[in-house]
């Protein structure tokens, strides 16, 4: 057997390394492998829908239909809602990722420099469907471009137990905060408090704390962007919350995330909670599983109501979803064609109907759709998109407003107060935090 010398091995290895490094340099210079095949593919990243039927519809029916109609390959990926933001960040930083990404609330403003203007599509759809609601417009457009194509609003309403309210003499949900507190107090005395999270969770916590603040007349900023949180109205709202929390709420709510109130309501430990329609839809889906203490289907004992009104009016803050077309996308034309295609009335209707009212469209036309008459329990959700108020009130729902939301400053203001911090101190703390953002 021929003897292999160490020197010859080193020479061979060195040569191979040099050759491969040269090849690697060339690959890195082009940014793609030599065999990279250009494909007309649209990768759409969205949240995994609460309504499984919608994801099934999209994956099994609508994506193949889109492929056939547009001549593109569709790649629909679903991830948990909380995981969208790391995917967006990684995509933007690396310049590669999904072409269309679902945005929650004002992510659109946060990533405004990294998305493609979809004004033409949004305006066309708005014109055809009676106009895009101001709520969706404020979140998806900065006045110059549409950073995201409005998709739907996941409305937040109070789910409440009809029979338990009847036991305390109420046939409809209270429409003022005083009435709310009184009902909560009576029901808590019976071991059925109201449930509300004041934790760091993207849906229910800000969905409650922001409209609550606004309904008392408190605002984060004025129209010019000056922080105006420190006000008599905000202070009153905090003091009222301190009493309300003690009198009528499940005090464990401070540590809840978006799922806990669903679980508490379905386990019949709370009598009312702000939520999407997921609680009710879950009881519809599994009527044998969720029953009242009398053995009746729970879905017959649930109704929905908007948050009560305060001295300054009645507000709602819902989860607005839009689809951002990323600037790094190499398939921008195909992605635009897909957006146009899925927002045609016939195609969007399939999505809308599969949601059974869980998602409210962002244009006026759908508000009068017959779907809202099918189930009266879902009817209150039809106005979610019309009555929604964007964050950053009374300024724009821009990146700063989104930063305040992401840091849970407004929610924490109330959380600190109900945990014992004096109301004035909680307000001053939140004001100072807001000023760090709105510099």
């Amino acid at each position: 057997m021929a003897k292999t010398k160490r020197r010859s091995v080193l020479k061979l290895a060195g040569g191979a390394a040099a050759a491969s490094m040269g090849g690697m340099a060339a690959i890195l210079a082009t940014g793609r492998t030599p065999a990279f095949a250009q494909q007309r593919t649209v990768h759409w990243l969205k949240w995994v829908d609460f309504v499984p039927a919608t994801d099934t519809l999209l994956k099994r029916e609508m994506m193949p239909e889109a492929e056939k109609a547009l001549g593109v390959k569709m790649n629909l990926e679903t991830v948990n809602g909380n995981d969208l933001q790391p995917r967006i960040t990684a995509g933007i930083q690396s310049g590669a990722g999904a072409d269309l990404i679902m945005s929650f609330n004002s992510y659109t403003h946060l990533y405004a420099n990294s998305v493609v203007d979809v004004s033409a599509i949004a305006e066309e759809v708005g014109k055809r469907e009676g106009g895009i609601f101001p709520y969706a417009k404020a979140i998806c457009s900065n006045g110059k471009i549409y950073m995201g194509m409005p998709w739907a609003v996941i409305g937040g309403m109070i789910a409440w137990r009809k029979s338990w309210f009847e036991e305390i003499g109420l046939t409809k949900f209270p429409d003022t905060w005083d009435g709310y507190r009184e009902a909560a107090k009576k029901l808590k005395a019976k071991g059925r408090p109201f449930g509300q999270t004041l934790g760091h969770t993207f849906g229910d916590a800000p969905g409650f704390s922001y409209p609550y603040l606004w309904s008392w007349g408190g605002k984060e900023v004025d129209a010019s962007g000056k922080v105006v949180l420190n006000s008599k109205e905000t202070l009153e709202s905090i003091k009222f919350m301190q009493g309300l929390w003690k009198d009528g709420m499940d005090e464990g709510g401070l540590a809840w995330d978006d799922t806990n109130n669903n679980r508490a309501f379905l386990s019949q430990t709370i009598s009312a909670t702000l939520n999407g329609a997921s609680i009710y839809i879950e009881t519809l889906r599994k009527p044998d599983q969720y029953k009242t203490e009398k053995g009746l289907p729970m879905n017959k004992d649930i109704l929905h109501a908007p948050l009560p009104k305060g001295p300054a009016g009645q507000f709602g803050f819902h989860l607005l979803q839009s689809n951002m077309l990323m600037k790094y996308s190499k398939n921008q034309d195909a992605a635009k064609e897909f957006l146009k295609w899925i927002h045609t009335e016939a195609n969007y209707r399939k999505f809308f109907e599969s949601q059974k009212g869980f998602a409210t469209p962002c244009t006026a036309k759908w508000e009068s759709d017959k779907l809202w008459d099918v189930d009266p329990v879902m009817t209150p959700y039809k106005v979610a998109a019309r009555l929604g108020q964007a964050i950053g009130n009374a300024g724009p729902p821009d990146a700063k407003a989104q930063e305040v939301l992401s840091k849970y400053i407004i929610t924490d203001m109330y959380a600190k107060a109900v945990q014992g911090m004096p109301a004035e101190d909680a307000m001053k703390w939140a004001e100072a935090e807001l000023k760090k953002v709105y510099v």
């Binding site: 990768h43 990926e77 948990n80 809602g81 790391p86 930083q93 849906g203 386990s267 203490e293």
Partner: protein, 283 residues
């Protein structure tokens, strides 16, 4: 072992140990009960007449069936196993060689280099995934298992190196020196003398590296996108948490089945693992 009166053994040994074991094992017990609990019992109020939080009289396999029939769970298990095994082997190979070099070869700045390697382990993955995403894009590795097999060693190699370095330092130099006097090269002394003695340490590093790879989330979330490429941690959270509703039964079934391979690995090598962590060779 605690010596002296019986009560001392109970107070200072048996009782704390029982409490510790209870705290550690209770989540697994809960996972098992929830896996086999029918949906109808999952949301029973605490004051319901047949409320049994710690047991079920109506065990069901529906959650496990759902996992295998309605999701790609089997595929995710295969992906996770493949990725964890390959990245562990790569990391162990590099970690053993680097650990040996840092512990035994007296080259300048070896100590500083060892500390620097450890510091790289402390860099959070939430910071690293952004530059790594760019590298993955440049090499067109996105949505392939190789995107994880090649990125997991970025935190596994520093860990293995640091652990092995400590282990090699605890092995008496005399063992190696005897071999060298008998004519073995440094390579042979390492392969035939030191590595066999270091097997407990290598197994410990391997087990921990395997577990870290198995449980990793953020890189798997960012670098993989197709449903059939996902790993168990990403797959179950993507498919079984919908909006604000957790599918507790299948989720717990996924967590239970997902933890079985790790438990098997631990049970096979538990003695070596303990020896590896408690200090190697008694010289």
């Amino acid at each position: 072992m605690i010596e002296g009166a019986l009560w001392r053994r109970w107070v200072f040994y048996n009782l704390p140990l029982t409490l510790f074991v209870f705290v550690l094992l209770f989540p697994f017990y809960w996972m098992i009960v929830t896996t086999f609990r029918p949906d109808g019992e999952l949301y029973l109020p605490w004051n319901a007449p047949n409320y049994m939080p710690f047991w079920t009289n109506n065990p069901t396999l529906e959650h496990i069936l759902y996992l295998f029939e309605e999701t790609n769970f089997a595929r995710w298990m295969f992906n996770t196993m493949f990725i964890a095994l390959v990245s562990t082997v790569i990391s162990l190979f590099c970690g053993v060689l680097a650990g040996y070099a840092l512990a035994r070869l007296n080259f300048p700045y070896a100590g500083g280099l060892g500390t620097a390697i450890f510091i790289t382990y402390l860099v959070p993955q939430t910071l690293l995934f952004i530059p790594l995403a760019e590298i993955i894009r440049n090499f067109q590795l996105g949505d392939t298992p190789w995107s994880l097999i090649l990125t997991y060693p970025t935190f596994l190699i520093p860990f293995c190196t640091w652990l092995m370095m400590g282990y090699f330092k605890a092995i008496p130099k005399e063992l190696e020196e005897c071999a060298r006097i008998d004519g073995a090269s440094r390579w042979k002394a390492m392969v035939y003398i030191i590595i066999p003695v270091a097997v407990p340490g290598i197994l410990s590093s391997g087990i921990i590296a395997f577990t870290l790879s198995w449980n990793e989330f953020i890189y798997a979330l960012v670098f993989l996108s197709s449903p059939d490429q996902k790993t168990v941690p990403v797959g179950v959270t993507s498919e079984l948490i919908r909006g604000d509703v957790f599918f507790w039964g299948p989720l717990m079934a996924g967590a239970l089945l997902g933890s079985i391979p790790v438990a098997i690995v631990y049970s096979f090598f538990v003695e070596h693992y303990v020896a590896g962590l408690t200090g190697s060779v008694k010289g």
